[in-house]
């Protein structure tokens, strides 16, 4: 029901969109809100026994069942709710674009995306998961390249598609290996088999590497993180929905789901941990020097996803999923704030902003909450979950010492770049000169809802952990109530990190308001860094060029001459004959 509503709704949107665009938009809103409500309802009533699956294709043992454990249901709920808010926000945000670009395409793919994401989160079958995995990738590609008259957007879409495809191939290979090894694609059956040691270690290693590759591609982790910042060419609502709250979480979700499966592999956890830590650090540095507001947020997303991946690597499933939930809310909030700002003043360059606070008080308030949550200031949601992550890394012992230091540095970087972004947009010595104002209600309501979420969601931790544990005995988690969370957090030595963050903020705040200048990386090295982004783009470009040249070389074989082709066919025939004779 939850899955079918948006999927069928997308079709309705498509059909109605041909007749009337106004009606189509309201249907899109209705469908996405309905999907959000259904997902929430599911959250409050997770059935003890999952409903019976049914066979899709008789003979091929592909059984569609539902994965109604806490992990999936929460991801589905995030997708449904943030999706509904993003669609409402788009009503106004996309209005000015409608003359140039067809709105039906936008709403169709957005609703389709929401449906696919919910489907991905609720299925218990790896093949179906892969199907939805590809669908969200495809919707993301279409929506990144939505401004199809802009060559930059088209290139960014293509880049996202190709880079994530690298990961998807890994995931598919992993699924096939597991299918071959176990004869089933049901994730829970496979996990059972793996824990009993029935899967050969070699095959399990192959599958583990494939799944890591898949998650690295989808969640924009090092070294495949290059597509996400470029994906910011998409409409901002799409960035909020797909590239902050949903699609990029699919990789983390996959890793968390398959964590028990790969427990046997000694190398799996540390590899995941290191990938996450390196990503968090690199993206944090880049976010600090970037001048495009959406790209700052994109790097910040990459960095936060690095935290979650690292937490999965040390077995902190709960911490990573809790951060995933919080991050989805406050990053969607920040993106929608950025959307409101871009909508109001028409530029994404941070240097042209400043002093906007007086003109856009509501946006400033909501964005402030988002920034507080992102930086990890106590009493906001990001603080609790980030602390949980660091704590789970501490628990992992000496092996994780270096990643822990890296993650702490990344947490400080998070505080620095989030304050820098906020400062450059809203503070500043003089007010913004040109006209700017808060958005209309279609834009304000989602902001307020998400801001409330970012502020209060951590209070639901008890409920969250109970629900997240439903049907998840194999994950070996312990329930965590709110008082316990508070106690654990405040009693841990990691409070020092928070202290450092607060000190950092105060120091920066004072020095910036005195000098009137924000920490801006100036000089050749910073420009070079912004330009090259640690050289990953150049690296991939070289790879692409090599493949292109190889194919160009192959082209000379295809001369277009009938005689050559006939000769080749004759030679092929001879070879076939010889094979027939010899065997």
């Amino acid at each position: 029901m939850t899955i079918a509503t948006p999927l069928l709704g997308a079709l309705v949107v498509l059909v109605v969109g041909m007749a009337s665009e106004r009606l189509m938009k309201w249907i899109a809103v209705l469908v996405s809100v309905a999907a959000g409500v259904f997902a929430l309802k599911l959250l409050f009533s997770i059935p003890a026994q999952p409903p019976e699956g049914y066979f899709w294709i008789p003979g091929i043992a592909v059984q569609i069942g539902f994965n109604l454990t806490g992990l999936g249901v929460w991801v589905a709920a995030i997708a449904g709710c943030v999706g509904a808010l993003a669609v409402i926000f788009s009503l106004k945000y996309m209005e000015s674009e409608e003359a140039h670009y067809p709105p039906t395409r936008y709403y169709f793919f957005t609703v389709l995306f929401i449906g696919s994401m919910i489907g991905l989160a609720l299925t218990d079958n790896l093949l179906i998961l892969y199907l939805f995995w590809e669908m969200i990738g495809f919707c993301s590609y279409i929506l990144i390249a939505y401004y199809y008259r802009d060559p930059k957007a088209v290139r960014a879409g293509t880049k996202a598609l190709i880079v994530t495809r690298l990961g998807d191939v890994g995931l598919l290979a992993g699924i096939i290996v597991l299918w071959q090894a176990t004869g089933t694609t049901n994730i829970f059956e496979i996990t059972d088999l793996a824990q009993r040691g029935d899967i050969p270690l070699f095959l399990l290693s192959l599958a583990g590497a494939g799944f890591i590759l898949g998650a690295v591609g989808k969640s924009a982790q090092f070294p495949l993180h290059v597509w996400l910042p470029d994906a910011m060419e998409a409409p901002t609502t799409i960035s909020a929905l797909i590239h902050a709250a949903c699609l990029v979480n699919a990789g983390v979700y996959l890793l968390a789901l398959t964590y028990p499966l790969f427990l046997m592999l000694a190398w799996w956890g540390p590899v995941v941990l290191w990938i996450g830590a390196i990503t968090a650090l690199l993206a944090g540095i880049l976010a600090l020097i970037e001048y495009d507001i959406k790209r700052v947020l994109a790097y910040s997303t990459v960095s936060q996803l690095g935290f979650m991946v690292a937490a999965v690597g040390v077995g902190g499933i709960f911490a990573s999923q809790f951060h995933l939930l919080n991050h989805a809310v406050f990053k969607a909030l920040l993106f929608l704030c950025a959307g409101a700002i871009v909508h109001a003043i028409g530029t994404r360059d941070l240097r042209q902003m400043g002093g906007l606070g007086r003109k856009m008080p509501l946006t400033q308030f909501c964005c402030g909450i988002g920034v507080f949550a992102l930086a990890g200031i106590p009493a906001f949601s990001g603080f609790w979950s980030k602390d949980q992550i660091l704590e789970s890394v501490v628990m992992a012992g000496d092996l994780a010492a270096v990643p822990l230091i890296i993650l702490i540095i990344a947490a400080l970087l998070t505080a620095a770049y989030s304050l820098r972004m906020y400062w450059m947009v809203f503070a500043g010595p003089r007010p913004y000169e040109k006209e700017a104002h808060d958005g209309p209600w279609q834009m304000s309501i989602p902001l307020v809802v998400l801001a409330a979420g970012a502020m209060l969601l951590w209070r639901a931790v008890g409920f969250y952990s109970t629900q997240a544990l439903a049907g998840m005995e194999i994950y070996n988690l312990h329930e965590l109530t709110l008082p316990q969370l508070v106690h654990e957090t405040l009693a841990s030595p990691l409070l020092i990190v928070t202290g450092m963050i607060v000190v950092l903020w105060v120091v920066f705040g004072i020095s910036w308001s005195k000098s009137g200048k924000v920490l801006s990386a100036e000089g050749a090295w910073a420009d070079a860094l912004t330009e090259t982004k640690f050289g990953f783009d150049a690296f991939y470009r070289t790879g692409v060029r090599m493949i292109t040249e190889f194919c160009q070389g192959l082209r000379t074989w295809q001369s277009g001459d009938v005689n050559y082709n006939a000769a080749a066919a004759a030679v092929g025939l001879l070879i076939l004959l010889m094979l027939l004779v010899t065997t």
Binding site: R555, Q558, S559, G560, D561, V562, N563, A566, A567, A570
Partner: protein, 101 residues
Amino acid sequence: MWSAYWITVIFLFSLGIYTLIFRHNLIHLIIGIEVMAKGLCLAVLVGGAQHAGGVFSVSQAIVITIILIEVATTAIALSLVVAAHRHTGTVDVAALRRLKG
């Protein structure tokens, strides 16, 4: 006694392939294909005649079908040649090089 037939089959088939490889005239190519196909027809017929349980009549039926289809494909090929001639003014295959991928 059968080997004479088989030698003819191989000769016709090789002749067709030789034409396809070394001729540049489109009409010649079509004739080459025809010769190849006739060699194959003969092969099917001879194979049917050599069948262990007496003459295998299905092979004759198949050959009739092949000949019918041949006619149709040749007609299409010739019409393509006419179109190519209109387009390039010659029946040389080298003029069609622009189809190179």
